[in-house]
């Protein structure tokens, strides 16, 4: 697919693709194999330095850090994908309700979104934990809900802006009905913003899971989570500073990759960036040479901005 090719054409896209690809592969691998049992505590081998048996060494309980990190990839994938799915669904539904319904519904939704956005993700997680107990599912749902609301708030503004544009009016003048305008114009033009917001949501979800687990609201101790590991190891940061860098670096890499993926996908699907700016010659005219304009712009605009009405 040329989209994939365009994504890896830029260094940021390569970085995102490599890191996330690796994450998914490692998560799959961890289902069937880890160097050691990630949960086996071995009090006689605490704080061992890296060795052939323990590639990143062991932690305070003598667990193999490498195996734990590998097992943690599954959690990261579940959190990122799960939150992404929930955030998309919530976002799409709220955007639709906020843009396509009767005026009082739209305005009511706008106010509701503004209120919901003020709710901290942490608070939502705490409330859900109080109801349903702490678990990975709680983390995924609370993060998904929070970001779904944020996405909806941003996407709603974008849809309204697009709906006011001349090309949508032109579509109506051509006889296109509501559904046609929605799927042929509103959605494709709002998609780039949605994509970037979604990838940011997934990135922040991974961070949020780490934070929630750190605070004890997340996955229980029977699930390997980078956040829980970070929480455990940061207590020793004065004595064994290097141990906490492994989960910290893993989280940072994945978060960066997810953020950059959104940008890369958006750029890869924008026709303005994927096709040349070479001026198209008129029928019968010789091909136009490079136009004498500021570089990076489209061919010499023969227009001047519209008359102020």
């Amino acid at each position: 697919m040329h989209v994939l090719r365009r994504i890896v054409a830029r260094p940021t896209g390569v970085f995102a693709a490599v890191v996330l690809g690796l994450l998914v592969v490692l998560a799959a691998v961890s289902l069937v194999w880890t160097p050691q049992d990630p949960f086996r505590a071995d009090p006689f081998h605490q704080w061992e330095p890296p060795s052939p048996a323990h590639w990143f060494g062991t932690d305070a309980s003598g667990r193999d850090i490498a195996s734990y990190l590998l097992a943690g990839t599954r959690t990261t994938v579940v959190v990122a994908v799960g939150s992404g799915v929930i955030a998309s669904l919530v976002g799409i539904v709220l955007t639709a309700v906020g843009s396509l319904t009767a005026r009082w519904v739209r305005e009511g939704t706008a106010v509701l979104l503004d209120i919901l956005v003020a709710f901290p993700t942490l608070l939502t997680a705490m409330l859900l934990t109080a109801v349903a107990g702490g678990s990975l599912g709680v983390v995924v749902v609370s993060v998904g809900l929070s970001f779904g609301v944020t996405i909806a708030r941003v996407a709603r503004g974008e849809i309204r802006r697009i709906a006011r544009s001349d090309y949508v009016t032109a579509a109506r003048a051509s006889g296109v009905g509501g559904a046609g305008v929605l799927f042929r114009h509103l959605v494709p033009n709002a998609a780039p913003l949605f994509t970037v917001q979604l990838s940011l949501a997934m990135a922040t979800a991974v961070l949020a899971e780490a934070g929630l687990s750190y605070l004890g609201y997340g996955a229980g101790s029977d699930t390997a989570s980078w956040g829980t590991m970070l929480a455990d190891l940061q207590k020793y940061i004065g004595v064994h500073p290097w141990s906490a860098t492994w989960p910290g670096a893993a989280i940072a890499l994945v978060v960066a990759a997810l953020s950059l993926l959104g940008d890369a996908v958006r750029d890869a699907t924008d026709p303005r960036l994927t096709t040349s700016d070479r001026a198209v010659a008129d029928r019968g005219a010789p091909p136009a040479g490079p136009s004498a304009t500021v570089p990076g712009g489209s061919p010499a605009p023969e227009t001047t901005p519209g008359v102020t009405a």
Partner: protein, 260 residues
């Protein structure tokens, strides 16, 4: 002489945002009681200063906005802009609209061929759409492969020609232009004027053209209506611009640049 398009008692008011929590927003009147009729085959120019309501009037006539009061009818049938797309299909078939800003009136994410074919698709026009699109793009002097390209690959004048192609591809009888020349530089403007003229002649179109540029109206129109503050202050053959009676018309004509 058949009247192809009639506007009766047209009013259009907007409510502006309210200034305090308890008072309703003030009303702004864009069109303040306009009666207008257009003969089949006529070329009507609607002129006026900024804010005179000329764009709003044409949007009412084109069925893009519903009047606050009054009616628009075409060939005897009422035009209800607030009705569904399906109910308005008959009118959309008869009309085409060209907008002012060639950079904003084409969806940047759609290929030109799809953009121009959109009326054919929405209005369920029979025939080979690809062939119709190719022939109309040729008619506006765009290259054969234009249909595969995206709008940003074209210059402003070319984009406006794409917009014109879209407005006529489905064989309408009335062509509306909302200041279609205003955003173009003078060399391109001259070309687009010629294109408008030849198209309306060849296709036998009725033309309703909004412009603040007297020169354009003198060249493309046979009748003119002068708007000021939402009302028609002068109406007649385009020759009236040579000897304007109303002070508003005179001010517009005097302001229009001439070459010594």
């Amino acid at each position: 002489m058949t009247e192809i398009l009639t506007g009766t008692g047209l009013h259009r008011t907007y409510r502006l945002p309210r200034r305090g929590p308890f008072e309703p927003g003030p009303l702004r009147t864009a069109v303040d009681g306009v009666d207008l009729s257009v003969r089949a085959g006529a070329r009507l120019g609607v002129v006026g200063e900024s804010g005179s309501g000329k764009s709003t009037l044409v949007r009412l006539l084109a069925g893009l906005e519903a009047p606050s009061a009054g009616t628009v009818s075409a060939g005897g049938r009422p035009v209800q802009a607030s009705a569904s797309a399906r109910a308005m299909r008959w009118y959309r078939r008869e009309t085409g609209v060209v907008f002012q800003d060639p950079y904003a009136s084409l969806d940047p994410r759609m290929r030109v061929g799809r953009i121009v074919a959109e009326p054919l698709r929405a209005l369920r026009v029979e025939g080979d759409h690809d062939a119709l699109v190719a022939s109309v793009l040729e008619r506006v002097d765009l290259p054969a492969d234009a249909a595969e390209r995206y709008p940003h690959e074209f210059s402003g004048g070319q984009r406006q020609r794409i917009a014109i192609a879209r407005a006529v591809v489905h064989g309408p009888r009335i062509l509306f232009g909302d200041e279609p020349m205003s955003a173009l530089d003078v060399v391109v403007r001259a070309r687009v004027i010629d294109l408008f003229r030849s198209l309306t002649d060849d296709l036998g179109l009725t033309l309703v053209l909004v412009s603040h540029d007297i020169g354009v109206v003198q060249r493309l129109c046979d009748t003119v209506a002068v708007l000021s503050a939402g009302r028609v202050v002068e109406h007649g053959p385009v020759s009236l611009l040579d000897a304007p009676a109303h002070p508003v018309t005179r001010a517009l004509v005097d302001a229009a640049p001439t070459l010594p």
